[in-house]
């Protein structure tokens, strides 16, 4: 009895398999991102709905960035079909020829900032670098602009900036000089370095990871810092006495690519098209503070209006911030970072 059922079941399964072609085992892609709460949010916002709609399986992995992709591509051992990177990494990897060309007949690029739409990479989300300060030290009269942050007489206190993200620190250093947000790019690197030089004696820690920035502020090791908005939002939610805004924030984009040599390029292309579609993009801010790269997401009506004002890439907030230019850093990153290191490492 059970045996016959089993055989029948197998037959049905076999029939189904021949009918439902997209559900075959071959249609599995691997997507790599940064891990943590961000990747969990992406799973709910992008990966799960896409897998369901396309009838594919999406496996996940985590990445450390461009090095990983380079290692896979140059070593001829590509295990990812899609991976997330920082936009400046995408620009550099593109120059090195590490990615497959994207097919914009499959991927609808409308609604994505043209600066983040390229032959072989496309924007996926935004992070902002914002100024955070502790309200138990400053009340609500804390430093509001980067010029305030640089003003050590008016705002005495301990400070932290990013030591690992030279591009971001140089951008805020340019803002600190009073350069208006639409004139920051192309960054005058030497001018920005001079600006860093002015404040470096008052920097108590140069953070190298988002977690470290968060810990420094949370434990009161510093009174003000540059920090990623997601981390700042988490601190606030945890009840830490902090305040931050998007004024003079630096918007940095994340992007997605298909590493060269991906074995499931075509399915990856379809999946990527889903990830950047307004409908799924609108899911992202429901789970995490990183804003959608596709501004049409704000027109879907999925995001509650009171949530929109807290999202860094909402049109109202974009106006207050500098958009970091990946193409600029592609050509200047190495030199600028070495100079920056020479300045702060002693």
């Amino acid at each position: 009895m059970t045996k016959r059922l089993c055989i029948q079941g197998l037959a049905v399964a076999g029939l189904l398999a021949t009918v439902a072609v997209p559900a075959s085992a071959a249609d599995t892609i691997t997507v790599a991102s940064w891990g943590g709460t961000y990747q969990e949010a992406e799973t709910k916002a992008f990966f799960d709905p896409t897998a369901k709609e396309l009838g594919i399986t999406i496996k996940q992995d985590t990445t450390n960035g461009l090095d990983d992709v380079r290692l896979q591509v140059t070593g001829n051992a590509v295990k990812w079909d899609i991976t997330e990177l920082g936009a400046d990494e995408c620009a550099r990897g593109s120059k090195e020829g590490l990615f497959e060309k994207l097919d914009y007949n499959v991927i609808d690029k409308s609604g994505i900032n043209p600066k983040l739409v390229h032959d072989d990479w496309v924007g996926i989300s935004y992070t902002s670098v914002v100024l955070i300060y502790r309200t138990d030290v400053f009340g609500d009269k804390g430093p509001k602009t980067w010029a305030d942050f640089w003003n050590v007489e008016k705002f005495p206190g301990r400070r932290a900036l990013s030591g690992s993200q030279a591009t971001e620190t140089l951008s805020v250093a340019a803002l600190a000089k009073g350069i208006p947000i639409d004139k920051v790019y192309p960054v005058d690197i030497d001018g920005a370095l001079q600006s860093v030089d002015k404040v470096k004696g008052h920097i108590d820690a140069w953070w190298t990871s988002g977690a470290q920035a968060m810990q420094l502020v949370k434990d009161g090791e510093v009174d003000m810092a540059s920090i990623w908005n997601g981390r700042a939002g988490t601190l606030k939610k945890q009840g830490a006495p902090v305040s931050f805004s998007f004024d003079q924030g630096v918007l940095t984009a994340d992007c997605m690519v298909i590493p060269k040599g991906s074995k499931n390029k075509d399915i990856a292309m379809k999946a990527l098209a889903k990830f950047v579609s307004p409908d799924l993009q609108a899911n992202l801010p429901l789970y995490v503070d990183n804003g959608p790269a596709n501004e049409k997401a704000f027109e879907t009506g999925k995001i509650p209006p009171e949530r929109i004002k807290d999202i860094n890439s909402a049109p109202e907030n974009v106006k207050k911030q500098v958009l970091q230019d990946p193409a600029f850093w592609r050509d200047t990153l190495v030199e600028a970072t070495e100079k920056f290191n020479n300045l702060i490492q002693q």
Partner: protein
Amino acid sequence: MSTASVSLDHAGRPNGALNTDALRADARRESRGLFALLSPGLLLVFAVIIVPIGWLFWLSLFDESGQLSAANYARFFEQASYIKTFVTTFKVAFVVTGACVLFGYPLAYMLSQLPRRAAGVCLIFVILPFWTSVLVRTYAWLVILQRKGLVNTWLMDLGVIGQPLPLANNFAGVVIGMTHIMLPFLVLPLYASMKTIDVDCLRAGMNLGASPAATFRQVFFPLSLPGLASGVVIVFVLCLGFFVTPALMGGGKVIMWAMRMEQTTSLYSNWGAGAALGVVLLAVTLALLGLFHWLLGTRATGVWSER
């Protein structure tokens, strides 16, 4: 060859010589046998150490476009930060090694003098942190040492200090964190070496009229030097390649060579850039080991049981 030596023996050398030759041949056979036993290990060392290091060196000679070039090494002189980082690395290694000797020697001495059972219990306290993750211990130090950490809050509550002491996110923090992690590496070989010192030697010293202090200075201390030397070398060399603790406790102001490697590897789209840093560190470390060897003899090569 054997026939030659045999014929020589027949040419009128005393019987003892024949014996010596046989013994020598036996010793040769035995060392060949030992070498054969050793060869799998040697092959493994060759495959997982010598070959990758050779490859590392090879990689460091190429620039981004795959051309032979010295660019990866020239960078050390073009960018001031490399030299600074290098100097910082050795400064940290020296200070931490010094601190380890300062704390580790008395500790090992105490352990070696305690009755067996008590020493065993105390050793557990040395080894226990050894088994805890470096990351966990470093974060623990951060919690203890930072501005609003335990030490500063207590000292301020007690009125000992008015301003918090700068103990974390600077050089002092790195040294404190690393000393704690490195201490067992010094204490364990030193303790092992002290345990092998014959108590009769000390008794003889006292018997000949030396005070306890003089016995310690003239008998115990020189005998403990081999263990101390190997401990110092282990600690120093491990310090040179340290990453986690300086990265977390240094506040981005104390950049050590290993951190620089990570930065350089991700900055340049070229493995050679990072490889060159590895080659330089390896060369300098080997040179230092050579220097230790020359200064301290075979004692420094890590054979602490040598008497």
